[in-house]
Point group: C2
Chain length 672, copies 2
């Protein structure tokens, strides 16, 4: 198992390769001593990181000075746990100062909190690599979100739901994996980009996982101990109907026996994990049990659990992914897009203060393009966090390059108008963000090495949603591949265009769902058309799409604040990338480009494949500039992507050609 | 495990319920003694059957007279193993004579073979139940096919590929099941209708099953012993590439090491099972290895195994289900329908005398309607057997009532013109028949109790393809439900119309494949349209179907003898139930009924659902006339069938309405 650590891609953005000549010369002889306030595992992690980072970057491992040593000035790098009355950055914020005196640089990292010290340390090492450390530099930073969370959909048997990077890094055969060091490496990786919470098991909680708060609590405790050393709190996904597995005949949230059982169980859990973050719950969703079974509201269910957690400082995170997953495709009155808002909006103000709703970014399910869920900004008196999906379920499953930071930026910057203009999703969800992670036990963690950028990017945005996609991309490339301008320019372009490229050759204009059922990989235009999942495009020989307007449709547009509702209501003002989400549109409808809808579909699919050819050419141009193993790995994935992009292009184009009878005006090949 | 035998449906057609009054009175006091020539397990099985049968039907278990006892005339029922020089019925034929003297009936069953005696015994009991036993009756009968075979697709882990009646009755967890008595009951059931060969394991032979001819030979031996007591020879499906699992680096059929390995292995197997029927092989098919891998022909592969089996009297059965299962849907030149003929026809005359080709009834794969495979009658110098599918993979999976005897009769009666008019499939495949069975460990063996009729019917047709569907149906109903005229009339009608009804609401006019991929249950018009399986309908807004003519299409029609080729070549003469198999047809094409193709699709789908309502009403009319448990069970399945028939109707109608834009002329509900 040790071998894996010698593979370059295992290190992700924490390579600490020796600095290139210019920086090397600039920093030689600096940072030879370090000193960190306090003690305990987290302080040791900081010390270890500084020694490892500086040692790797500059070739000399710095000496660790005990407290008080090093004279009045202290060590060259000093991490100070300061409790300043005027401090406004919170326990997780930090200040970083670089003083220069007679050519000697002195770095002082200050925070009142251990986590702040840790984040400041990683920031220092990051800045050192991008060459920004210099005399007079002063950085203050703090996370814009309190909760910066990772969700694992790992099962105790070692499988990962929607996992595309191997098996679970935590579990195998209903035990913890033997390589606990890898979990520690993972905690360090997450901490390096400011993640402070992780739910380790799948929100679909089966029989074995139900025991994580009972007979299998040992496993959770071990994981909590590992994560704690990097400032990360453990969360557990729990089975809402656990009481049914433990001898009660009900899971009614208002039943006293149920409430008592949970209170006792939570107490037992907190005896073992005193700093447990709390529970994550998927209830009444996709055949999972929930309060609806007992005629209770989602608030009844969430509050019952929230109450049990409250005295321990625990948080209850309740997912809003509730909809009818047994819809009859013949039923045109039910609109799945409406479901979350319809179920939760009326409950605004009814949730306890330690209950947080976790809302998926869109009203459907992590499609390549969806509007932002109207639930954001709809519940002023309810804690909310945004749920994103780093794992590429519908976006190429880490076989395709699809860098999602640009998508997430659009979501975060979307103006809900909840409190007038400027009420972006980023401000509305100030409780934080969660995301389903793309990590498994593949040597490179994420299956596709370039998919590491999605994990990095998500964490950075969770820290500060105002960071630009360009900056995040630049950071990740430099940390991962070193400071090469060609790599930076080429790979930035590849990453930043890849989401749009993927969209071009897959489902057009927000329609979504044209994929194979169950595994969700590859094109299948009618794949979900006659299913129970409520995800229909209703293409016929004239038109495609579901009318979701208030005027003639399902009324979904009315769930937005008036500014957005009006925008989406009309085909003329609706952003065209979302046209087929909101409207039923004839193939001959003229888009703003002057093209018909059908011609747009053909054009974007031909274009998408050409763009993947471009990605391949770009990557090939980097041969020799990135290490050979990574180069070959990414090349193979891109070649596979090209083949598969052609399959998407041809299936989609053929489908629309067959059903419409209208050909491509440029007479390119569409298979009859 | 004993409980299962007390369930009525477990007995299938061997209930031996007390005869109804008229017959009871007629036969009371008869058949009180029995005598059977010879000894050994098969003779004991005959004795046991006579005691059980007569005891059940007449209330008094007959006495078994030892050889020589009972005076010169012998017992009332005598089974004589006679070796008569003039006997022309073979070892499996029998003569049954009923003599009447002073009101005493004496039954003499004669055959030179043990199997013939067994079949005569079951025939006697059958005739007793249908009331045909009487003085002067003389019956001579013998099977029209030497090989009357059942194929199990059971895996050693207990799963059954395409099984819809529970788990394997043979295997569980890579062991034999503990209830070996149930296997004996099964052998008896098969023997009662003349089955003489059974392949117990799946033709897809995985790692565990590969060991059935090696380290797991014990399991095969035990099964052979059980089946032997009922005159049934065991066959094993073998892994063509077994040598690769046993240390050789090749499975090249012309490699001496491969040939030697098989000869030695076959010798070992025959030491344990001296009467093994032989091997069944699926090679070069759906990703199974085969001789093609080594640039050899199918004949090279089959002959190599045939040679190894020859000196032991073993037979090698080689399946002809060979086609390209990695076709690109964009490739319009390859036609899967052509494959079997293209691969095998040129090899006619090259197969050893103990090699038999097993040919599926149609060129595709057990669809509800296909033309007969052109390979029948195409290979005059090659042994052939017909492969049917009793398990209802594409015909409702034993959730739907679909009695297949009428389909099989059409196939057997199809005139290939191989030797001029009258060269029916039944005569061409005179080596015999095989069928994939519908049996699992459900208490009623077949999931749907009425699906027992398919097992019964197949076996009877394998015995004598000239039996009419009506006669077989009458027999099965009477044996299963007793001699009730209302049940006979109503259930006959239900069974005999059910295939056509199923066809009406599923895929129209021979097009096939409009089902969900993989599990093959339920409608999905485009389910196989963009897949690798070579099964395309290519529907567009004008027309549907693949042109398989010689004139403008793939040339498939040219694989038939001229009389049939001409018939299929033209849309005017092509039987309309197969129109969409052979031709690409506009929706507006006028059928012989005067309806357009599209209107025919709508009409047949509306009709099919009405007919299922009719099935339900018919069955309900039998309440009180069939036992309650069976009544309730079948009623529940029919109700499910009705729901699902509506789903088929609506999906198919909606698909064609959407793609064509043409509505139903009667304005019935088609969902837009």
């Amino acid at each position: 198992m040790r071998d894996i650590r010698s593979l370059r891609d295992y290190a992700c953005w924490l390579h600490y390769d020796p600095l290139k000549k210019e920086s090397w010369d600039k920093y030689q002889g600096q940072f030879e001593t370090i000193q960190v306030d306090g003690d305990g595992p987290l302080v040791e992690a900081i010390e270890e990181e500084l020694q490892r980072g500086i040692g790797g970057l500059l070739g000399t491992t710095p000496r660790l000075l005990p407290q008080g040593e090093g004279g009045p000035q202290g060590a060259a790098v000093q991490v100070i746990r300061a409790l300043d009355a005027e401090w406004t950055l919170g326990e997780e914020g930090y200040q970083l100062e670089v003083q220069e005196e007679e050519g000697s640089l002195r770095v002082v990292i200050t925070s009142p909190g251990e986590r702040g010290c840790l984040y400041g340390t990683f920031a220092f090492l990051r800045l050192l690599q991008v060459g920004e450390i210099g005399g007079g530099l002063q950085v203050t930073d703090s996370p814009k979100n309190d909760l910066r969370m990772i969700n694992h959909w790992d099962n105790l048997d070692g499988s990962v739901e929607r996992g595309y990077a191997g098996r679970s890094i935590f579990f195998e055969d209903n035990q913890l994996v033997s390589d606990l060091d890898r979990i520690r490496d993972y905690a360090r990786l997450l901490a390096s980009v400011g993640i402070n919470s992780v739910a380790v098991n799948n929100v679909n909680v089966h029989a074995a996982e139900t025991q994580l708060i009972a007979s299998r609590i040992d496993m959770a405790e071990t994981l909590a101990n590992i994560f704690r050393a990097y400032g990360i709190r453990l969360f557990l996904s729990v089975n809402y109907a656990s009481t049914l597995e433990f001898g009660l005949d009900t899971a009614d949230p208002l039943d006293e026996r149920v409430r008592t059982w949970w209170k006792n169980q939570v107490k037992l859990v907190y005896q073992r994990i005193p700093d447990l973050g709390g529970f994550l719950v998927k209830a009444d969703s996709e055949n999972r049990p929930g309060p609806f079974t007992y005629g209770r509201t989602q608030a009844d269910g969430a509050n019952m659990l929230g109450e049990a957690l409250e005295s321990f400082g625990g948080v209850l995170i309740w997912r809003c992914f509730v909809y009818n997953c047994h819809q009859d495709w013949r039923d045109t009155k039910t609109d799945r897009a409406r479901a979350a808002y319809d179920y939760f909006k009326p409950l605004d103000g009814q949730f306890r203060h330690n209950v947080i709703l976790q809302i998926k970014n869109g009203p459907m399910d992590f499609q390549v393009r969806e509007p932002v869920s109207p639930l954001f900004g709809a519940m002023e008196d309810t804690n909310q966090i945004l749920e994103l999906q780093i794992t590429q379920e519908y976006t190429g499953q880490q076989r395709h390059l699809c860098y999602l930071v640009p998508q997430w930026k659009e979501i975060l910057d979307f103006d809900t108008y909840a409190q007038g203009p400027g009420s972006t999703v980023a401000t509305v969800v100030s409780s934080g963000m969660a995301a389903v992670v793309n990590v498994g036990n593949d040597p490179n963690w994420t299956g596709h090495t370039l998919a590491q950028a999605n994990l990095y990017g998500y964490a950075r945005l969770a820290w500060d949603p105002s960071l630009s996609a360009e900056q995040i991309t630049r950071e990740w490339i430099t940390l991962t591949f070193g400071p090469c301008t060609e790599v930076l320019a080429t790979l930035s372009e590849m990453l930043l265009t890849s989401w749009e490229i993927y969209e071009n050759y897959t489902t057009p204009l927000g329609i979504g769902w044209m994929c194979n059922p169950n595994h969700h990989y590859g094109p299948n235009v009618d794949g979900y058309e006659y299913s129970k999942w409520g995800t229909y495009h209703k293409a016929n020989n004239q038109a495609i799409g579901v009318d979701r307007t208030v005027g003639n449709g399902t009324g979904f547009t009315g769930q937005y604040h008036p500014e957005n509702a009006a925008l989406y209501e009309s085909m003329e003002t609706c952003p065209e990338e979302l046209l087929l989400f909101f409207h039923r549109v004839p193939y001959t409808y003229q888009l703003k480009t002057g093209k018909t809808l059908l011609q747009h579909i053909y054009d974007s699919h031909f274009l998408g494949v050409e763009q993947v050819e471009g990605l391949l050419a770009s990557w090939r141009s980097l041969e020799g500039r990135v290490n050979e193993a990574t180069f070959g790995h990414v090349l193979a994935r891109l070649e596979e992507q090209l083949d598969h992009a052609k399959e998407w292009r041809d299936v989609i184009n053929t489908y629309f050609y067959r059903i419409s009878g209208i050909g491509d005006i440029h007479n390119r090949t569409i298979y009859a």
